[in-house]
Amino acid sequence: MPDLLIELFSEEIPARMQAQAADGLKKLVTDALVERGLLYEGAKAFVTPRRLALAVHGLPGRQADQREEKKGPRVGAPEGAIAGFLKSAGLASLDQASVQSDPKKGDFYVAVVEKPGRPTPEVIADIIPAIIRGFPWPKSMRWGSGSLRWVRPLHSIVATFGAEGDEPEVVRFEVDGIVSSNVTYGHRFLAPAPITVKRLDDWMAKLEAAKVVVDRDRRKDIILNDAKDLALANGLELVEDEGLLDEVAGLVEWPVVLMGAFEERFLDIPDEVIRATIRANQKCFVLKNPATGRLANRFLLISNLVASDGGAAIVAGNERVIRARLSDAKFFWDTDRVNGLESRMPRFQSITFHEKLGSQAERIERIRRLAVEIAPKVGAQPALAEEAALYAKADLLTEVVGEFPELQGLMGRYYAQDENLPPEVAAACEEHYKPQGPGDRVPTAPVSIAVALADKIDTLVGFWAIDEKPTGSKDPYALRRAALGVIRIVLENGLRIRLWSILRNRAIEVLQTIKQLPFEEAIDSISALPPDIRTLKGVQAAEDELLFKFASSGLRLTVFGEAVKIADDLLSFFADRLKVHLREHGARHDLVDAVFALEGQDDLFLLVERMTALARFLETEDGKTLLAGYRRAVNILRIEEKKDGRAFTGPTNAALLKEPAEERLADAIEQVKRRVATAVAAEDFETAMTALADLRAPVDAFFDAVTVNDPDPALRENRLKLLDEIRAATRGIADFDRIGG
């Protein structure tokens, strides 16, 4: 069976786009072939800086013929119907149709439409130009006087089709003046002459001879192996870097690994800075000394050339540039340390964090306050947390971080260490950014935790306050990541924090920044505001009692009301993120809902404890049966409440408890309620569940022995109230209505 070879030869394709382009080409072409009835055995795409190629093998030589019968109207049908049939079948007259008989319907017309299959090359010649014109490059361009768009100017196209052993034919087509052929070109410098190619194997072999390795994975292997070998031969170890490897494999057609060196004195610069410098600017690999684990004063560059001097000039040139880059880096590192972190702080006043959220200085001030507030709850010394919060962002203004933003945090740690700040503070400078993603480590040192939480919570509250919440796939400020960070820090460290009042108080602060309201007066009293106050009435009472005053009553109305709304909304965002997080760890999200539905659930750690205990309970026989009993009770209640148009809520009237089973249930409920309440208060959810389990038997017995809808309305009412009491008893644990399954 014949194979297809396509090669699109262009000017240098950006490295970062190559892999996706290869996949895209393969998918577009094979989909189009299959859509036209051309099934294939296999396909493989290739990409180098200058060419995008695809081989499809095992294609049929032509499409299968298609024969389609179209049923028409019966013989003698009205003229209109016949004319419509002729038109739709593409027939000139009824002579071209045949007549078929059906025992029931009688005689009717049939048109046979024959669609002969086309030769595959013809189909390909139709497909490819359209794919080229519509190719989904992330960014494309025009050139010269043409209107074709490609990632960079497209120069020539190879398109051949043929079976093994045969001389393949050129699939002829043209795209904006570029005519397909069987001619390609080798390496830009090493073998630029035109080459005539046949099929995949021939194309690969000839290009290989012309110093082009067309397979990206092979180029990566060559680079990695040669780099490791060269390192080893010099007693060193390659610092592997997958991202860099991907990129350099997209910058060369013929990789040649060469080693260069730089002066030892540059090793005073932190390893990470050296690596960032050499990687970002020069796209070279760094090497480690296996004995010390530190970087060696060597680097590996991947050139695209077998140079006539063995690469001496190339190495010398790269060494010169790296020397200049490292001098810059060293200069930055030295000046940063001379000037010190403290000296940079005032500049934060003139740097906007976000147009609506004030300056970086204001943000740092908020983080500082929050870190101090959180510190005692996470076992950190408030004074250390305060210092850490002050310095945590200072490295943003250093030269090194200006040059390499990815080193933020880490540089803060280095500079803090250099200035002999307390080790907790230095660690927090780096760790407060963590966790950066689901796979990243969570900080465990108390001071780092305090600043990390303060930083993330301030970000969340801030963007909530200006209504910049994440929507769909848009989350430009990485707020989901921030919320997940808070969740993981709390859960993995077993922290006990009531979130709601923290969120509310932060929202009050942020709103004051946004509305540019007088700050100090209110701020200082915010932490005196009792945590659970949610209503304006509540805040008024607190004001009177605590002599706590907002700057004005107008402020109280707008700011407090909005802050409560933000806190509520953010808390439910946390609930959502928690659900996602727990689900990823195999938990049932309905149980998160069931627990969150209770009033005032804002202690994430406790919430998860409660949920875990509940999940375990629901696995047991007691749990399952109780849930069934609960549902039965609620169903009956719902129906009867609807009938009567009223709600039945406890307590029951003891005098009306006639049957022993209902008496026992009422007793059990009373006891269980009390025991659950005590256990929950002691945060002992296992015991709470054991208590709840004791409801199972009386509930079952009740349904066995008692008819709820007694003819006596007083008895019926009392029994319905008893059912509601079952609901009430479970409420101490969770909202059982929300439990699914």
Partner: protein
């Protein structure tokens, strides 16, 4: 290959000025109009009307010129080996971009002494954008053994207007190329005139003092009040000239108006270097210059050279 018949002082690997002359010669041979620098302070050769304005409209155009480029923020008081607040760009613009533009560029490197069998020349993605000019294009930075020596761009948009045909723009960083072919580590050590001994003039002899003085000026002394006023004046004048030259279908003062846009842009760069523009203001200044550039581009299209009938 360097022309072996050249006297030593005219070899591009011996003197800075010979490098420049060689490039001029090379591009003259390709049919370019060899222009002289624009007589205003600009941040890059792109600002020269021979690029910005000529890239607009349907008329073919080929030009090459050296352009002194001022980057106030790049001042290093003469202490950085390859970063200058005033340096020379060699600018080539070919419209429409020819199919063999990359080959021409590589040949020009050979002409100044870069042996392509010995050096690793690479085209590394670098999309060019000038927010102040409302311009962008796709292309590469050209590396020679890891050193960025040129910028290579296919203009897609200039002054907010789609380019059709597309111009190809080459910008050579002359000092960096010269360091490369002369094999020196520090820009100030470049041989400027190709002479040796007492007759030799180095790049430092010509420019070191200027770099020191202008760094002081750019970062410490430039009169910000005056500059703020100059920005406003240039902006106002630009609008005024645009209105004056506007004759409906035709425009009669696109070039003088564009001069004021250039002026505003440079003044903005100076203010920026002085650190008196906050992050938020910065954006709005850029937008103001872009508005001028766009209006000048639109006016240019209504002139004869801009292709108006």
């Amino acid at each position: 290959m360097i022309d072996p018949a050249l006297p030593a002082h005219m070899r591009p690997d011996r003197s800075f000025q010979a490098l420049l002359l060689t490039l001029q010669r090379f591009w003259a041979d390709q049919g370019c109009v060899v222009l002289q620098p624009y007589d205003m302070e600009v941040g890059a050769g792109t600002f020269h009307p021979a690029t910005t304005l000529r890239a607009l409209g349907p008329k073919p155009w080929k030009a090459a010129y050296v352009q002194p480029s001022r980057r106030p923020k790049d001042g290093r008081y003469g202490e950085n080996p390859n970063r200058l607040q005033h340096y020379y760009q060699f600018q080539v613009i070919l419209k429409p971009s020819p199919d063999n533009l990359q080959e021409l560029y590589l040949k020009s490197l050979q002409a100044i002494g870069v042996d392509l069998g010995l050096h690793d020349v690479r085209f590394v993605e670098d999309d060019w954008e000038s927010p102040t000019l409302g311009a962008w294009g796709l292309g590469w930075e050209c590396w020679c053994d890891g050193m960025e020596v040129s910028q290579f761009t296919y203009f897609q948009q200039v002054a907010g207007i789609e380019c059709a045909p597309v111009s190809g723009e080459l910008t050579y960083g002359l000092e960096r190329l010269a360091m490369y072919v002369q094999g020196v580590e520090n820009v100030y050590d470049l041989n400027f005139n190709g002479r040796e001994g007492a007759e030799k003039i180095s790049y430092g002899d010509v420019f070191l003092q200027a770099e020191q003085e202008y760094s002081r000026h750019n970062f410490e002394a430039a009169d910000t009040e005056m500059l703020l006023e100059q920005f406003r004046m240039a902006e106002k004048a630009c609008h005024k000239y645009l209105a004056f030259g506007d004759k409906g279908e035709r425009h009669e003062m696109a070039l003088p108006a564009y001069d004021q846009c250039i002026k505003a842009s440079h003044v903005f760069n100076l203010l920026d270097a002085r650190g008196v523009i906050s992050v938020t203001e910065r954006q709005s200044y850029i937008l103001r210059v872009r508005e001028l550039a766009k209006a000048c581009g639109a006016a240019w299209l209504k002139t004869a050279a801009g292709g108006a009938a």
